[in-house]
């Protein structure tokens, strides 16, 4: 193990023990490790933004590109200038124009992303489960394909009903103010089960990844201690 590996190994060991000490309780060591991590990550991100985006796509064109290209960068430079001077308390209102640009852009992207990125593809995926031609081609028995399709449709409709916002009309009891109209309330019971199943499955896979990280850290500590003893 050369000296660089030894140093990085020792640093990793110390940081691992300091962060895992949070399981005992919030302590000074954990805060120290967290501070080092925050500083390093912020510094590295700043380097990435400068080297990979701002330098090649904003500063370099301003220096080396012809004036026509510089002209195209006029508007972004103005927006960036407004953004920077809006950091002074007295000029805060100037920051609204670049942020309005960003909000409009985000709004447009949200609409396009919602409709063309999720709404249509997911709807078509539900409908395509009922592809009779594909059923005949599939290796699984027909009853299972039809069952899967029916369960998919009922499940999706149940979940959409679970999220229904409108309230049940003409309430008898105050408790009913949390209920949906009758038909949506019925379907939402089905939807609840499917939401629970999805969240449970994601919870299990989440635990798997986190568990593997914990096992890796324990293995690393064990290996380092053994190397330490082997070293003397």
């Amino acid at each position: 193990m050369n000296w660089l590996e030894w140093v990085t190994g020792a640093a990793g060991f110390l940081l691992t023990v300091m962060v895992l000490s949070y399981l005992i309780g919030d302590n000074v060591f954990f805060r120290l490790a967290a501070s080092i991590f925050i500083g390093v990550t912020a510094g590295y991100l700043a380097v990435l933004l400068i080297r990979h985006i701002l330098w090649p796509f904003l500063i370099q064109p301003l220096i080396y590109e012809p004036w026509q290209t510089k002209l195209w960068l006029g508007i972004p430079l103005l927006l960036i200038f407004l953004l920077l001077i809006s950091q002074f308390p007295r000029m805060i209102k100037l920051g609204r124009i670049p942020l309005a640009y960003l909000a409009g852009l985000s709004g447009g992207i949200a609409i396009i992303g919602a409709v063309f990125g999720t709404l249509l593809p997911q709807s078509m995926a539900v409908i395509n489960v009922f592809d009779a031609w594909a059923w005949t081609e599939s290796s699984s028995p027909l009853w299972r394909e039809m069952l899967e399709g029916a369960v998919m449709l009922v499940g999706v409709i149940g979940i959409l009903s679970y999220f229904y916002f409108g309230r049940k009309r003409n309430l008898q009891k105050e408790k009913q103010a949390e209920q949906r109209p009758a038909i949506f309330e019925a379907f939402s019971q089905v939807g609840q089960v499917f939401i629970g199943i999805t969240l449970g499955s994601v919870f299990a896979s989440l635990f798997s990844s986190a568990l593997l990280a914990l096992i890796d850290r324990i293995a690393f500590i064990g290996k380092f201690i053994m190397n330490l003893f082997r070293g003397f």
Partner: protein, 580 residues
């Protein structure tokens, strides 16, 4: 001395201040208030006391009820009492010689009473004036009798009256005599109440023996301090009494009084209290509500909800931590043998293996790195078998990263694979997932759509033909983003996905809809891949510990079913929530 009174918070500021020292309000539009005290002879205010049309019984009634003086009376007084206050205010704000004895709080109340036109201000101001005058009188001379006082009053009054009449051209009586003026009705009433019946005509021949050497002001103060009792005036029956008959319950009242009837005696049973029905005007009700709203009873139990301590008790937390780490350590370092691998390869695994086996020599692959440093260990376990096969058949890797340390992580990952040295690795740049992916970089934007001379601001997706794309991701969101982006841009190229367990369960449909060539996620699937690719078995020593951890979690969930399922958490909060 003039002062600036801040209209916002009432604080006094020295003239010339731009802002109030207390609440920083601008004082530019505030007029300085003259706080100067003029010397006035002591007697001056006393004749004004007598002279004012003040209805003293009204004051007494107010003292008794400790409430408001009736609205209509109050208005009548406001005008009159205005000057009255000023004079008293000046007098009570202290003769020049006594300013320092009068406490600060009293001077501030009087100052405020001059500003505030509410009933409380008036009463406060009159009581304090009465007390002040009494104190002055005691200090100035002990032996002066009441008669000398009245005598001096008359002389002052006549001089002033003569001066006023000459100004108005009115007929004046003989010098030194009180012009026949209508004597104040209030004085007659007080004297009657005081048990001394005095005929109106004899008012001038008032003498001290009939008043029994007892001064009016002394009586006023005693009344206020409760030593004197005020007997109700006989002819003025309090209106409330008439109505009380109605207010009393049926059982207690023998005969019901009807308007226009002769008055009937109402026998009231012992112990029944006749509840006086207060006739309160709307304005008074609003003021009373305002006062009760502002004075909040600090001691009342507050409706704040003490949250039940939802965090698990420290003991359970420590127990779970110690047991889990001990179990994992034991299974890691005990060198337990790996159970033989069985179970069938899933279709998506088989497709990935087939793709690796059919990779042409010298192929060019695109590697998309979308995982963070925390998942480095898991990704190494899952991706190593696949990459070791891919490296053998490839000549160039183009790396594109969408997480900060993506490029660093994949360099570290490839260094552990033999044959990596011969590989050409080029870095296609950093694509912050949220920036680029959100723009549908690949989904329908043609890279050629660009104005002439317009500079790039985006790393365009690397061009050229690839034999395959490998996406290494640690979350469902990142994987979904890159699958849809790359499928739109490179629909003819096979896209394979290597993800951590966390991303796995929801990505299967992309394989079934043929957007994905192959998919492997999580340690258990990686073990099966390793076995079939017969790559050096790097997952075995972790597998036992992983199984132990997962089985412990299942046990904990089942324990939670039985021991922790008393669901008072939600009920208590709801019941408390109802109360709050």
């Amino acid at each position: 001395m003039a002062v600036l009174i801040c209209p916002e918070c009432g604080a006094e500021n020295t003239p010339g201040d731009e802002y109030c020292w207390s609440c920083r309000r601008a004082l530019t539009d505030v007029e300085p208030v003259n706080d100067a005290v003029q010397d006035e002879p002591l007697g001056g205010h006393l004749d004004e006391l007598l002279n004012s049309e003040e209805d003293l019984p009204g004051l007494l009634h107010a003292l008794r009820q400790d409430g408001n003086i009736d609205g209509e009376q109050g208005d009548a007084e406001d005008v009159q009492s205005g000057e009255f206050h000023d004079s008293l205010g000046q007098a009570s704000s202290g003769q020049s010689g006594r300013e320092e004895e009068i406490p600060e709080w009293l001077r501030r109340i009087r100052q405020r009473a001059k500003q505030e036109k509410d009933s409380i201000g008036e009463v406060t101001q009159k009581i304090s004036a009465a007390q002040e005058s009494l104190a002055d009188e005691k200090r100035s001379s002990q032996h002066e009798s009441y008669a000398d006082w009245i005598e001096r009053l008359h002389q002052d009054f006549s001089q002033e009256q003569v001066a006023k009449d000459s100004a108005e051209g009115a007929p004046t009586g003989k010098a030194g005599q009180l012009p026949q003026t209508e004597d104040p009705e209030w004085l007659a009433k007080i004297l009657k109440v005081h048990g001394k019946s005095v005929e109106k005509q004899d008012l001038d021949s008032l003498s001290t023996e009939r008043l029994g050497g007892n001064s009016l002001l002394q009586w006023l103060v005693d009344l206020e301090s409760g030593k004197e009792k005020l007997e109700p005036l006989s002819e003025e029956e309090p209106p409330a009494a008439k109505q009380s008959g109605d207010a009393v319950g049926e059982g207690d009242q023998n005969e019901r009084t009807v308007d226009g009837d002769t008055t009937q005696e109402i026998r009231i049973k012992k112990g029944t209290s006749v509840k006086p029905v207060l006739s309160i005007s709307r304005k008074e009700q609003l003021e009373a509500d305002l006062i009760s709203a502002t004075i909040v009873d600090e001691t009342a139990p507050r409706a704040m909800r003490k949250f039940e301590k939802p965090g698990s008790p420290w003991v359970i937390r420590a127990a779970v931590t110690v047991i889990l780490i001990t179990a994992l350590s034991l299974s890691l370092f005990s060198g337990a043998s790996t159970s033989n691998l069985s179970g069938s390869l899933k279709p998506q695994h088989r497709a990935l293996i087939t793709w690796l086996e059919q990779l042409p020599a010298e192929s060019r692959l695109l590697l998309v790195v979308d995982y963070h440093a925390g998942f480095e260990a898991e990704m190494a376990l899952i991706a190593q078998p696949v990459l070791s096969k891919a490296v053998q058949a490839s000549s160039e890797f183009v790396i594109l990263s969408s997480t900060e340390s993506g490029v660093l992580l994949v360099d570290r990952l490839l260094q552990d694979i033999d044959g990596f040295e011969t590989l050409v690795v080029s870095n296609a740049g950093y694509f912050p997932a949220s920036n680029f992916a959100a723009f549908g970089l690949g989904a329908g934007i043609d890279p050629s759509w660009r104005f002439v001379h317009a500079p790039d601001a985006v790393n365009g997706l690397p061009q050229g033909d690839f034999e395959g794309i490998l996406v290494l991701s640690d979350s469902y969101d990142g994987a979904k983003t890159w699958i849809e982006q790359l499928y739109a841009q490179f629909s003819e190229v096979t896209i394979n996905l290597i993800t951590t367990a966390q991303a796995g369960p929801l990505l299967l449909p992309y394989y079934e809809s043929h957007q994905l060539g192959g998919l492997v996620s999580g340690l258990s699937e990686a073990r099966q891949m390793t076995a079939y690719l017969n790559v050096e078995n790097s997952t075995s020593h972790l597998w036992e510990a992983y199984r132990t951890g997962v089985l412990m979690m299942i046990i904990v969930i089942v324990l939670g079913l039985f021991f922790m399922s008393d669901h008072e958490g939600q009920e208590t909060d709801r019941s408390k929530g109802e109360k709050a």
